[in-house]
């Protein structure tokens, strides 16, 4: 099974690897997946006072497609509002990375990670 060029590029040059201060009120953290299933994604967003995602970082335990999916979404969410980021669909991720059917769950996990990070931020900010 060969990976698409975009997956290989994200795997070899992952964007925005790292961590933000999870205790900060302006940071939302999403931790999804399970070690037993072979993939865990941590996605963090830093949100400005006017509700724009200023920064995003990820760390992922998983296959190349999982790493690429999470790396890609950190690029996509930056500069978006929370609602815009929440609208990112796993199918967009899968299409952009040309994921084969057996790897679709990686894109689903990345979508879940965005939603989890947004939800965490909203809880902290008293928005939900």
């Amino acid at each position: 099974m060969a990976y698409s060029d975009k997956v290989v590029d994200h795997y070899e040059h992952p964007r925005n690897v790292g961590s933000l201060d999870k205790d900060s009120g302006s940071v939302g953290t999403g931790l999804v997946g399970a070690p037993a299933c072979g993939d865990v994604m941590k996605l963090q967003i830093q949100v400005s006072a006017d509700g724009i995602i200023e920064d995003a970082k990820f760390k992922t335990f998983g296959c190349g497609s999982a790493i690429a999916s999470s790396s890609l979404v950190t690029e996509w969410v930056k500069g978006k509002t929370l609602d815009e980021a929440a609208a990112i669909k796993n199918t967009d991720i899968a299409q952009e990375l040309a994921l084969p059917p057996v790897k679709i769950h990686c894109s689903v996990l990345a979508e879940d990670a965005i939603k989890a990070a947004i939800s965490d931020y909203k809880k902290k900010a008293g928005l939900e």
Binding site: Y3, V8, Y11, P14, V17, S19, L31, V32, G33, A34, P35, A36, C37, G38, D39, V40, M41, K42, F58, K59, T60, F61, G62, C63, G64, A66, I67, V102, H105, L109
Partner: protein
């Protein structure tokens, strides 16, 4: 004769990764190919043709090969039948014996870490009314002899335990198992696809009644294998393939003379070189394991180290997923016990059977070393794997938690 230098090039094709997957398959040794070639062209006769020289010379070649195969396992040539490979041999041994003796005995004992072709055969026999006991293994991958003893009943027709496991390379105590089976009156079959040519085997000293052998695991051709079937006391079996009654009626069909010759020559070379080769490979394996352990924390060997063939290492690199790791070590052709490498999305059942957590099974790599592996390959592999593991740990949330002193088992994960 092909030069040694040229031979050492095998597994190092330009633009290809270095081959370290010798438990998956091996290249044909050029010495083997050389022996085979004339039997494709000039000496093409049907070995079963009794009326002319074409048949006679092919038959002679096949019988020499049969003796070479018999010799490496301490058997008589008459006890060796050629098959298409170890999968067919395992099917024929288990199914054939079970079917033949089913009026008297209907119970089979095997082990959960067997190759799929043994387990799947047993599943089919269960559907056909046989009962099967699947023994667990200990954390080191070996069967517990007391449990085996307890599992064999007066209804047990056959016990099937592999000689060497394909994933973790551990060697089962064949002599002890053989003695137990003999004492209890059950036939002992062993899948030795990964054992022949790697460790000394003697069907008589080990009380083995049936043994499966593969060509392509021992630098012979693909598409050929053998089944040893004991003659004294005689083991009977129902053939899977009916026809002209070749191979003493147990496996009909015209023998593939070049493939038989190849298997025979592969056995002869392995028998001659086994001692020196084992010593060399143990040196390389220790260098690989030592190098990895020296430079990487949190790595774990899967399966017993002492009772293991020289050419196998199976290591879990904690907090790094196996398929992601394989993508990082693209200069090496290895395999992983990670779910993502299989269609099933389940991590290796062999590693799970050792009691490994699913997350550790996901982080494993199997390194298979062999005849054409060099010290340079090992040094390259160490550097390559260390670099990839460090790269991936730097982006692993689990590694970060580990460094922060968080036990990842204490977290409520949402399994998907």
């Amino acid at each position: 004769m092909t030069s040694v230098a040229k031979t050492m090039e095998l597994g190092k094709k330009a633009g290809h990764p270095i081959y370290m997957d010798y438990q998956a398959t091996t290249p044909c040794d050029p010495r083997v190919v050389e022996k085979m070639l004339p039997y494709f062209t000039n000496m093409f006769g049907n070995p079963h043709s009794r009326n002319h020289a074409y048949g006679w010379e092919a038959e002679e070649a096949v019988e020499i090969a049969r003796e070479q195969v018999a010799s490496i396992i301490g058997a008589d040539a008459k006890e060796v039948i050629f098959t298409s490979g170890a999968t067919e041999s395992n099917n024929l041994a288990i199914r054939g014996v079970a079917e033949f003796y089913k009026a008297k005995r209907n119970h089979i004992v095997t082990v959960v870490t067997e190759h799929k072709c043994v387990l799947d055969t047993c599943r089919h026999l269960e559907q056909a009314g046989f009962s099967v006991t699947y023994l667990p293994v200990k954390a080191d991958g070996l069967v517990d002899l007391a449990e085996l003893d307890a599992a064999i009943t007066d209804k047990t027709v056959i016990v099937s335990v592999m000689g060497v496991n394909n994933e973790i390379g551990v060697i089962q105590p064949l002599a002890e198992i053989g003695a137990l089976c003999r004492k209890k009156g059950a036939f002992f079959h062993t899948d030795c696809a990964q054992a022949v040519g790697k460790i000394p085997l003697d069907v008589n000293a080990m009380n083995i009644d049936l043994m499966s052998i593969s060509g392509h695991k021992i630098y012979g051709p693909k598409g050929i294998g053998a089944l040893y079937v004991r003659r004294r006391p005689r083991i009977r079996l129902v053939p899977l393939i009916n026809g002209g009654g070749q191979e003493r009626g147990m496996r009909s069909g015209t023998l593939a003379t070049p493939l038989c010759v190849g298997l025979g020559e592969a056995c002869a070379i392995a028998q001659q070189e086994m001692g020196a080769e084992a010593e060399r490979l143990i040196g390389l394996r220790n260098r690989l394991l030592g190098g990895l352990r020296q430079r990487l924390p949190e790595i774990y060997l899967n399966g017993d180290l002492d009772n293991r063939i020289p050419g196998n290492l199976n290591v879990s690199f904690a907090f790094v997923e196996g398929e992601g790791l394989m993508m990082g070590v693209k200069g090496l052709a290895v395999s992983s016990g990670s779910a993502c490498t299989s269609a099933s999305l389940e991590p290796s059942y062999v590693l799970r059977a050792l009691g490994l957590d699913a997350e550790m099974a996901h982080t494993s790599l199997r390194f298979g070393l062999g005849r054409f592996t060099t010290q340079d390959d090992i040094d390259f592999a160490i550097d390559h794997v260390v670099t990839a593991v460090e790269h991936l740990r730097a982006m692993s949330p689990l590694w970060e938690m580990h460094l922060d002193g968080i036990d990842i088992k204490s977290i409520q994960w949402a399994e998907h």
